[in-house]
């Protein structure tokens, strides 16, 4: 597998090292010459000290025969351009972009980047999982980002406790499909009465979130500080 890594920061450096160790052919592009030399001292002459956003240097790096291009610089716009150039100009089968602003994820996906990794989103997700706030928990974005997999943790004040799904006003385009009770996941039947402590798993359109929140968590903004 020939992998072209663009950006020799911490991510690009460790990525290159790991890939080399697992026996892949790797070329790293880093535009800062001092940094590029530093890395080359360690990993050998697979570092190109040029800007990976420039078509000319991508071409020199052998982008046209790369199986994967990973754009992991610290700048979203650079990562976008690297992936688009790789995809559309050099016909690279798979492009991976690091995204810092989570809001750019859907744009990148729409513009043809194959895989998007957002450290910000990952850390955010991890924090949300650890804090038991009265909120809906976003587990994943589905499809083009218009659908979301959501978890709702039912607490004492929730309007859904003591009710069955068929008695709730679940918005159109949403479906409650499973409940996790005492660590066991079961499909949610329309007549199953929900209890405090249940975790309800739902899939729904992003815009239904407010209504879903009202039904499962409650509309009052009484989250503990």
């Amino acid at each position: 597998m020939f992998v072209l890594v663009v950006g020799g920061g911490k991510v690009g450096y460790y990525l290159t090292r790991e890939l080399v160790e697992s026996g892949h052919e790797v070329v790293l592009m880093e535009k800062d010459r001092v940094r590029a030399d530093q890395i080359a001292d360690e990993v050998g002459s697979i570092v190109i000290p040029h800007d990976g956003c420039e078509g000319k240097y991508l071409s020199e790096a052998g982008c046209n025969r790369a199986d994967i291009v990973a754009a992991v610089t610290g700048d979203d716009e650079d990562n976008l351009v690297i992936c688009q150039m790789a995809k559309h100009h050099f016909d690279v089968p798979k492009t991976i972009a690091r995204v810092n602003n989570p809001k750019n994820e859907s744009l990148f996906k729409h513009l043809g980047v194959d895989e998007i990794i957002s450290p910000t989103r990952m850390i955010l997700g991890s924090i949300e999982q650890d804090i038991p706030v009265h909120e809906l928990l976003h587990l994943a974005a589905l499809g083009e980002g218009e659908l979301e997999l959501i978890e709702a943790h039912l607490q004492a004040g929730s309007p859904a406790v003591g009710k069955a799904p068929r008695d709730l006003a679940i918005p159109d385009g949403c479906s409650l499909f499973a409940v996790i009770r005492h660590g066991i996941a079961t499909p949610l039947r329309p007549d199953m009465v929900l209890e405090e402590g249940d975790k309800v798993i739902a899939i729904g359109k992003t815009e239904c979130e407010t209504l879903l929140h009202e039904q499962l968590i409650g509309s009052s903004q009484t989250a503990d500080a």
Partner: protein, 177 residues
């Protein structure tokens, strides 16, 4: 006509002023407030400090549904990203991005964005002045219809059809280092 300009450098400020004088609605964005010093005191448009590659900032600046969007910062990639945001997320009708790397300019024209390449423009100007044959680096490229998202869409209404505007052929040479 409502025009949004990202980047208030010499070119951005001059176009902002000219369009404003011609009676159009102009919004110009820059990361630095100082950049707005380039605008004359007579400028009646709006100057917004903010990042033109941030969708929220562009929306707040009223870029949604604008007629014209010009991405004219000093960073090729910032211009590319701002232009694609304008086209994909903000439904702007005509979008132009300044891309000084000729290869990238050609690639993004192929992807459906009108591109402006200073390298090509200046070579053309020099060649014309000296009476030399036109360079093979075009200064301005119209979108040639293919689209990053895959769905084909033609160039917007106007005099340009497709391919090169102005100087003859497409670049076949490598750009300057």
């Amino acid at each position: 006509m409502k025009t949004v300009i990202v980047g208030c450098g010499r070119v951005g400020a001059s176009i902002a002023d000219a369009f404003d004088k011609a009676g159009h609605i102009v919004v110009v964005l820059d990361l630095q407030t100082r950049a707005f010093d380039r605008l004359p005191s007579s400028f009646k448009g709006e100057a917004v400090r903010g990042d033109g590659t941030d969708e929220d900032v562009l929306r707040r600046a009223g870029a949604e549904g604008a007629d014209v969007f010009l991405a004219l910062t000093e960073g090729d990639n910032r211009n590319v990203m701002a232009a694609q945001l304008a086209e994909e997320a903000l439904d702007v009708k005509r979008v132009i991005a300044k891309i000084n790397d000729p290869l990238r300019a050609q690639a993004y024209a192929d992807l459906g964005i009108a591109t402006l390449c200073r390298t090509g423009l200046m070579m053309d100007a020099v060649n014309v002045y000296l009476g030399m044959p036109a360079s093979d680096l075009p200064g301005m490229l119209a979108p040639s219809g293919r689209h990053p998202g895959g769905e084909g869409h033609g160039p917007p209404d106007g005099p340009v059809e497709s391919g090169t505007v102005g100087a003859g052929a497409r670049p076949t040479r490598s750009p300057e280092a």
